[in-house]
């Protein structure tokens, strides 16, 4: 008999609607007197007094382009103040793509915030409120603690707005300090994430709306940023460790982005496979895949090589929990620098000395644009998209969505294809697409010819504008 186990779904904890319904299901729970734990109660109360003033409820309006037009969505998330300048930390999937940000402070005042920067790869974002608000309302920022010293079993509180229930505190312990997640590594905004950190697992309740809120210890320090919970499971929530968050937040405040080095190499933990790779003792990390044309390939790395050291310091990665810190270490290398590598190659007893020149990861995802008159939306193609989507090149623009019933839909333009030329002129990037679109959008009635590519296949798409394709808003 096959045994089925229910796969829990790991989901980012941003809240949308359904809240009223869920509230209706809530019942009153009487709370009996709690004696004999006054110390703990005092500590929690202290944390509440310390941390709650820094908590904010974030109401972002985000834009999506996947249906072929620009659409707005409202959601709810959490965040916390981290300095007197008014910087607030939250999740990328809450605020990273917001076109408008309103926040409700702990004193229930509602003010507007602006986006400072976001990093999808760690699912973190920084937004800012005027620093006058911090002083005027007497808000006290929170400090990051040291999550590296965190132990399983430590008491923690999660603060946030689960189901838009603002200023909610939940309490629990750290269940695991180095959880490695294989599933759910794509954000609701479409980017991949989670490559550079393990997760703090907690049984403090994390629900939709908790996203971006702080996980604090009994000293009132932030040890993690709550980001996801397991759906169809109880009391399994995950937070981004403070050590990761501290670095990323500093970068975002300083430059608005996180710059990472990239060598195009994937690793596998060595487990107990050392003999299969000609070693008596486990050393290094197994290179499982080398991306074509990436610095790793140029350096001469091959799948099956054991990378013994990176930049002079020896490596040992036997378990998958150790992978994120390795990727993190490579990403922290100064972009464009040369790094010495020591490699053990299958069938060769000599160790090889190689050198890799890192490149910048660049933007994970591109800018978006709505070609309203034609009924579709496009996206700039970044180097990372070429790799993630396995595109033939970085030229052209990617069709992100097609509006049902529009000229593009009638012309059978599909999502995910690349527009290579527009009315006979080559589209090199989003700017060239936009300027050509502005020239041509008035062509009505008439027809515009696109040349599109889906991997190695090419086709023509004819956009036929009818005189009534743009609604005038007049009633008959």
């Amino acid at each position: 008999m096959t045994q089925h186990h229910g796969d829990a779904i790991l989901r980012p904890m941003r809240s949308s609607t359904l809240i009223a319904l869920l509230l209706a299901l809530g019942t009153t729970l009487a709370c009996p007197g709690f004696v004999g734990a006054t110390d703990l109660q005092t500590s929690i109360q202290r944390v509440e007094a310390r941390a709650l003033p820094a908590l904010v409820n974030i109401q972002p309006v985000t834009e999506s382009y996947t249906r072929g037009e620009r659409r707005k969505h409202a959601s709810v998330g959490s965040g916390f103040l981290i300095d007197p300048e008014g910087h607030i930390v939250t999740n990328y999937h809450v605020a990273g793509k917001a076109s408008q940000l309103m926040v409700t402070l702990s004193n229930k005042e509602r003010i507007e915030a602006e986006l400072v920067g976001g990093d999808p790869l760690t699912d973190l974002a920084v937004i800012r409120i005027p620093k006058e608000a911090v002083t005027d309302y007497g808000l006290t920022p929170l400090q990051f603690g040291n999550s590296a010293q965190l132990r399983a079993g430590a008491f923690v509180l999660a603060l946030g707005s689960p189901l838009d229930l603002a200023r909610t505190l939940t309490f629990g312990i750290v269940s695991n300090t180095e959880r490695y997640l294989r599933e759910g590594m794509t954000l609701p905004t479409g980017e991949r994430t989670g490559e550079f950190n393990t997760w703090i697992q907690t049984d403090a309740a994390i629900n939709p709306g908790n996203s971006g809120g702080p996980l604090v210890n009994l000293d009132g320090q932030v040890v993690g940023v709550n980001a996801r919970g397991a759906v169809l499971a109880d009391n399994i929530g995950f937070a981004i460790p403070a050590t990761t968050a501290r670095q990323v937040v500093a970068d975002l405040i300083a430059t608005g982005e996180v710059t990472r080095s990239y060598i195009g190499v994937r690793f596998q933990p060595l487990r107990d496979w050392e003999e299969l790779f000609g070693m008596e003792e486990p050393r290094g990390v197994l290179i499982s895949s080398v991306e074509q044309g990436a610095p790793g390939e140029t350096a001469g790395l091959q799948a099956g090589d054991i990378l013994l050291s990176y930049g002079g310091s020896p490596l040992l990665v036997r378990f998958e929990e150790e992978l994120p810190s390795l990727y993190q270490r490579i990403s922290e290398t100064k972009v464009g620098s040369s790094v010495a590598l020591r490699v053990l190659r299958r069938g060769q007893s000599e160790e090889l000395d190689l050198e890799v020149s890192t490149v910048s990861t660049g933007k994970l995802s591109g800018e978006r644009f709505e070609a309203e008159a034609w009924g579709f939306t496009v996206k700039e193609i970044t180097d990372q998209m070429v790799f993630d989507l396995d595109l033939v090149s970085g030229d052209g623009v990617l069709v992100e969505g097609v509006l049902t019933g529009g000229p593009a839909h009638r012309g059978r333009l599909g999502r995910g294809v690349v527009i290579e030329s527009l009315a006979g002129e080559v589209v090199t990037d989003l700017e060239s697409f936009k300027s050509r679109y502005e020239e041509l959008k008035g062509t009505k009635p008439g027809a515009v010819l696109l040349q599109v590519r889906a991997y190695e296949s090419l086709r023509y798409v004819l956009l036929q504008m009818t005189s009534d394709s743009a609604p005038t808003g007049e009633l008959p």
Binding site: W273, E275, Y460
Partner: protein, 503 residues
């Protein structure tokens, strides 16, 4: 089971049949005989037709063997067949070659092997049969009864070509109930609802259900004038004649008369068992392009001469089309002097079929137009089509509960492998088997096993037999999936087969 619906609602079907009989009768009265109906035939009454047709049809029980999840399985299914000659040739649907739905899983992309055929007639006769030939395009097959006694003849149908098949014309069908209903012949009626201009005048039909795929269509005189060629059902039904059209298609006899003639010839040439199950109609030629219909509006916009054509979306690397200099976005408008009158998706199939009527080595001359206005002639020497995933050779490793297949061109294209990439493709794997526990999954391409490179099926077999000889505690598989590679380690329990269940 092929006839579950009938078993469950047998009475309903009888009632429906009665309604159809009424409808049929009225149609026969209304429809004027075709203008040039050939030699005058006598209209058979329904009961007379029933008596005449019933002994010619049989339930064909066929057993398929395939590998699913790395294990060999058999399924038993049923289809209708009709005897077409007195020495026992039987026409069936080509769907028997494809995986049938069963309680277990469908075969993992592999084409099942046909193990046996047995025929069950309404009057209790039972016979064994074997394959004479299949035709891929028609999705029809012919069997030969193998256990006929010397001199035994079989009641069989006769065909008529002169039938015009006007819209509204009534046709008769017949199938058998399942064994539990005594294999009673069931009369049915179909109506020609449209004549499709494409595919050279095939019929759209109403009144035909899925289990009649491949079944004969009789006219009012009791002659077979066509077969049911396509019924909307699972994609496993085989090649779809017209992918865009989800209706039921009747194929007039003229379309498959040559195939039957070839089968008869094949049968007389090799009347004993063990002959090759293919008709010697020559290998189909291969061009190596993907295309879509040009469409009138696009043609006008690009200034292409009117009359239809196809736009090439892809020219397969290494194909004859590439060798001849065809490129993606080229527009083909003529083929050997004839206009390629493809205007829409539903016109595309005949173009593809026409190319398959050529043999490898034959030259096809296309007229190519381009958006730039350039017009030129391109001659392509067709080659033999490369083996497809479905027909790829497969190997099984019982100990690792793993089936692999050769790396075919279609898999290469699907995985976007560079031309030099080699390996074997994981075709089936048992999840709890040694290779399944190692994380091997269908579609992965094995490129190395331990230290041995795996480039093809033979090197796979060599590598696995080396593993068998040395019985290592860990076996390293280096696999590729898409453009990333990965290592998987199996930890076989070599003592597993030696104790316990006696071998």
């Amino acid at each position: 089971m092929r006839y579950p619906r009938k078993v469950r609602s047998g009475l309903g079907d009888v009632l429906r049949m009665a309604q159809w009989l009424v409808a049929l009768t009225s149609l026969i009265v209304c429809v004027a005989p075709p203008a040039n109906a050939g030699p005058p035939g006598r209209r058979l009454s329904a009961p007379a037709f029933y008596d005449q047709a019933a002994p010619t049809i049989a339930t064909v029980e066929f057993v398929q063997e395939f590998v699913s999840g790395g294990q060999r399985q058999q399924t038993r299914s049923w289809v209708d067949g009709v005897v077409i000659s007195d020495d026992g040739l039987v026409l069936i649907s080509g769907r028997v070659r494809f995986p049938q739905r069963s309680k277990g899983r469908l075969a993992g992309g592999s084409l099942p092997q046909l193990v046996s055929f047995s025929l069950h007639f309404a009057d209790g006769r039972e016979h064994q049969a074997e394959v004479v030939a299949f035709d891929d395009d028609l999705n029809l097959g012919v069997l030969r009864i193998t256990d006929a006694e010397a001199g035994q003849t079989f009641p069989h149908v006769r065909f008529r070509d002169s039938f015009k098949g006007e819209i509204g014309a009534g046709l008769r069908t017949m199938t058998l109930y399942t064994e539990s209903y005594g294999r009673t012949p069931v009369l049915g009626a179909a109506t020609i609802t449209a004549k499709l201009k494409t595919l050279d005048n095939v019929w759209s039909l109403s009144g035909v259900s899925t289990n009649l795929l491949g079944a004969p269509l009789w006219d009012e005189r009791g002659a077979v004038v066509g077969v049911v060629a396509q019924v909307p059902m699972s994609p496993w039904a085989g090649r779809q004649l017209m992918p865009d059209l989800s209706g039921t298609i009747g194929l007039p006899h003229g379309h498959f008369a040559d195939f039957l003639a070839a089968c008869r010839q094949e049968d007389s040439r090799a009347p004993t068992k063990g002959s090759e199950p293919t008709v010697d109609k020559g290998e189909a030629g291969w061009l190596g392009v993907m295309f879509e219909p040009l469409g009138r509006k696009l043609a006008e916009h690009l200034g292409i001469s009117p009359g239809g054509g196809v736009v090439l979306s892809r020219v397969v690397p290494g194909s004859p089309a590439e060798a001849a200099g065809l490129q993606a976005l080229d527009i083909l408008v003529e083929m050997d002097g004839d206009r390629i009158d493809v205007e829409s998706e539903s016109d595309s199939a005949p173009f593809a079929q026409k190319i398959r009527t050529y043999s490898p080595g034959q030259v096809v001359r296309f007229v190519r137009e381009r958006a730039s206005g350039q017009r030129s002639e391109v001659a392509v020497t067709l080659t033999q089509a490369p083996t497809s995933e479905l027909h790829a050779e497969r190997r099984e490793d019982e100990a690792f509960e793993l089936t692999v297949r050769e790396l075919t061109l279609d898999t290469r294209l699907a995985h976007r492998l560079e031309p030099g990439a080699t390996g074997v493709v994981v075709d089936g794997v048992t999840r709890a088997g040694w290779s399944g526990l190692a994380g091997l999954k269908r579609g992965m391409i094995i490129q190395r096993i331990n230290k041995l490179e795996v480039t093809d099926l033979d090197s796979f077999t060599d590598a696995m037999s080396r593993v068998q000889q040395t019985t290592p505690a860990k076996v390293l598989f280096f696999v590729r999936f898409g453009k990333t590679t990965r290592f998987h380690v199996a930890e076989p329990d070599w003592t597993e087969g030696q104790d316990g269940n006696g071998g």
